[in-house]
Amino acid sequence: MPLKPEQVSKLLNMVSSSDTDSLDCDGCFDHIAEFVDIHLASQEVPAALKAVEIHLQQCVCCKGEFNALLDGLRALEQPE
């Protein structure tokens, strides 16, 4: 079963945007709360958390959870 044209495009995108990632998903999750606090405070990402930033660029699943977490936390900042 050959790839469909849109899957070939997706594959090319995955390959061309690949970057060496020192974390796996659990490693990213271990630091995500800290990373999100910094993100929401619009602070510069410290060197120790750069790996989280790279993982989020590479992993669609973790990026999706990160975005959902931001949505949830922003909702909690709004008055009930």
């Binding site: 995955m14 659990d26 999750f29 800290e34 699943c61 959902a68 949830g72």
Partner: protein
């Protein structure tokens, strides 16, 4: 919001009457946050009410792992969000079986001709796709081909892991290493990532 109460750990670990109140407060906070984050994802196939109890139990059983590097509320919502999104992914996943995809042809690329493109652009694309096909055949393992195919079919990493009896970290690593191998292989053939983006733009 959550940080109005700064002694969450103490309260959640305290005597029953204090603990029960804290748990109900936390449940309400999680429910409110998850209701927003889950409602517009995966067509809302799972409701926040359906996962908040699981999330709460996960948080309570993980309290000792809270290292204080973040706000407690962010940490708790991170756990709850992962529980919620994972439940949605399991339910929403497209009805795709990886069983019918053999390792041999799991990433076979048919190189099509697009009449809209110039002959030069078409030639460049063909060169890249042929090289990519060759690299897939020669550099990737069967497990890597299958994992990448799963993602290209629209399955999340954790769903590929479940269907291949693996785990999320292992599948992510398979795909990550596959991407790097293909990128390096293209690079060795004189095809840079920027070239790929430009030629297929």
């Amino acid at each position: 919001m959550v940080e109005i109460q700064e002694n969450w750990i103490e309260r959640l670990s305290g005597e029953e009457s204090v603990r029960d109140v804290a748990i109900e407060e936390l449940r309400a906070i999680l429910l409110r946050g998850l209701s927003h984050s889950m409602s517009n994802r995966y067509r809302g196939v799972v409701q926040a009410e359906d996962v908040v109890q699981d999330a709460l139990l996960k948080i309570l059983s993980s309290l000792q792992q809270f290292a204080g590097r973040s706000k407690f509320g962010t940490w708790a919502m991170a756990i709850a969000t992962r529980v919620g999104i994972s439940a949605m992914r399991r339910k929403y996943c497209p009805d795709i079986s990886l069983d019918g995809i053999s390792a041999g042809d799991s990433l076979r690329i048919e190189i099509a001709v697009d009449d809209e493109q110039s002959a030069e652009q078409h030639l460049d694309q063909r060169i890249i796709l042929e090289k990519l096909s060759e690299l897939i055949d020669t550099r990737l393992s069967d497990r890597q081909r299958l994992a990448v195919r799963g993602l290209l079919e629209g399955l999340p990493v954790e769903e590929v892991a479940r269907r291949t009896m693996s785990n999320r970290n292992a599948v992510y690593k398979l795909v990550h290493d596959a991407r790097i191998k293909l990128r390096e292989g293209l690079g060795s053939a004189g095809i840079a990532a920027d070239d790929v983006i430009a030629i297929f733009a």
